[in-house]
Symmetry: C2
Subunit: 351 residues, 2 copies
Amino acid sequence: NSYFKIAVLPGDGIGPEVVSESIKVLDAVAEVFKCRFQYSYGLMGAEAIFTTGNPLPEETLKICKDSDAVLFGAIGDPVFDNNPEAKVRPEQGLLKLRKELGLYANIRPLKTYPSLIDKSPLKREIIEGTDIQIFRELVSGIYFGEKFTDPDGKYAYDVCKYSTEEIIPIAHMAFKEAEKRKKKLTLIDKANVLDTSRLWRKTCQKIASQYPDVQLDYIFVDNAAMQLVLNPKQFDVILTENMFGDIISDEASVIGGSIGLLPSASIGEENALFEPIHGSYPQAKGKGIANPVASILSTAMMLDYLDLPEAADKLRRAVEHAIENRYVTVDLNAEQHYSTSEVGSFIADYI
Amino acid sequence: NSYFKIAVLPGDGIGPEVVSESIKVLDAVAEVFKCRFQYSYGLMGAEAIFTTGNPLPEETLKICKDSDAVLFGAIGDPVFDNNPEAKVRPEQGLLKLRKELGLYANIRPLKTYPSLIDKSPLKREIIEGTDIQIFRELVSGIYFGEKFTDPDGKYAYDVCKYSTEEIIPIAHMAFKEAEKRKKKLTLIDKANVLDTSRLWRKTCQKIASQYPDVQLDYIFVDNAAMQLVLNPKQFDVILTENMFGDIISDEASVIGGSIGLLPSASIGEENALFEPIHGSYPQAKGKGIANPVASILSTAMMLDYLDLPEAADKLRRAVEHAIENRYVTVDLNAEQHYSTSEVGSFIADYI
Ligand SMILES: CC(C)[C@H](C(=O)O)[C@@H](O)C(=O)O
Ligand SMILES: CC(C)[C@H](C(=O)O)[C@@H](O)C(=O)O
């Protein structure tokens, strides 16, 4: 196959700026690797609320369902964050999209770049050589369980629910990845307190027998939050539920000192979405200073998913080339830096 | 008042070793400050399960309810951790004790010691001067909500529920502390996803009008997990719900490089419990290498609670004296170090 339908959702904040660099790079890939990407743009998030009143318009959902893959920018706007009364919020669009597309596995690779280690808040000896792959369940748990606020505002609840059917697919995915890597899988949970966590443990324990080469470890989420800072190198593949994954993967994303570089993939049976993990970063919007690399590396994950591994590799090499040559945005080098679009062009040219 | 009934629960792992140093120090305090502490010992945790089958025997609960304050060591044993089928677990004892004593506020002060900053996994410039006080709600939320595992093991759920009545007292406590400090309170939640988090925001927003000097900020828990590593100095007083507090306060505890020094207080209307936050550390059990300082500083928090502020200050100065003179356990100085009991005696002697 050499023709792909890509849904493009630039979203909020710096989303549009970084996504347009991904498109630039994809165009270069198309030329070199003789394939075609057809882009369909959709509104989502705060932008979509402002223009349509809906954070995920039907039209956008349709474009995504019809696509081979979704390229997404970022979501979120301060206008909504500080208003607990807001009935419609940008995040609802993203949560609904994940659910509708069945994107049950959020995958975040976390690597350190030798030339950037000194940007980390952690000491070099702690962080050097860290290479983690996080699998976060994305369409269940407390995010999607029943929610209720009593009309008098006296109490509220959120239900965290999991079925074995929701755990099994992502567990297999994580075990398979562990087999390809150092054969070490760590399940993060709170099994000393939560029934759902014990269900995760039992389910993973059962599945483990199908992967005799992989060593399955367990760690409580509070301890995991400590160990990630104390000794991140002890982790290889991490598997966890939705809320713990949200917290732990964000914590993990900053230890390398380069959140502007980190991509993610959200995978389902029939759809997939690729987005940088840095979020909408509203303060930087429109200034041309956003780092496009996380979005571009998310595009590389998309190319792998579309079964274009050579194109994906080429793209990753292009990014490494830019970083090694210090052709980077201001977040990575305050002294000499280039704009979002200059970095995107440099990477596209290399391809 | 100069006569106090102290319930002493050494618990599991290194608990007994560190608690006995606290007693040594308390005895010195009693002598110097002309007061009397009467100790009643109780079993709790894995130790209690092994001898009575119950992680919190009735007898222990009674001793605690009758006391002016509870000194607690640590809980947890690897025998139970890796067995999701275990019906009785040590942690149940601690959770039940918190609930029965109504210990709704877990307070963790987090300071850096200049002479120990280089032990931190974070760089000196990131961590230097960090001084945070965390207030974690301790007797509600997903820890104590309804739990269910279906008999066929196909699904499970845990309910996170909060009422405004549960939020208000700890919120006032945190606001009051903020007034005494830098007048900055940060609520950590996930209000973009959870109804309970929005209840927390609304409730705190309302209370804020009674503390016009205090600036109330909000931060999402995933972002908080990042910011604690990127720039811990931005925080002063933190307020959060039970599960987020568990994760965030443990993460925060390692950034200073001295988890062996960190105390905690769990406060209710009529009871209070004091414990080091390092946990049972079973690998170190019986070796005489455990750092008693966290337990001793928890004792200082107890002295404050018992309205003996001079004794508490003296004790804190004694600890600082030991640290400045490098009279410390192996975790703080690998080259020249002293045993648990030597450090305890050094501190007691200074008093
Ligand atoms: C925007 C928000 C709802 C989302 C989440 O919590 O899942 C984000 O933090 C993420 O991790 O993708
Ligand atoms: C032992 C465990 C149940 C407990 C908790 O999660 O509250 C501990 O981690 C703590 O933070 O005191």
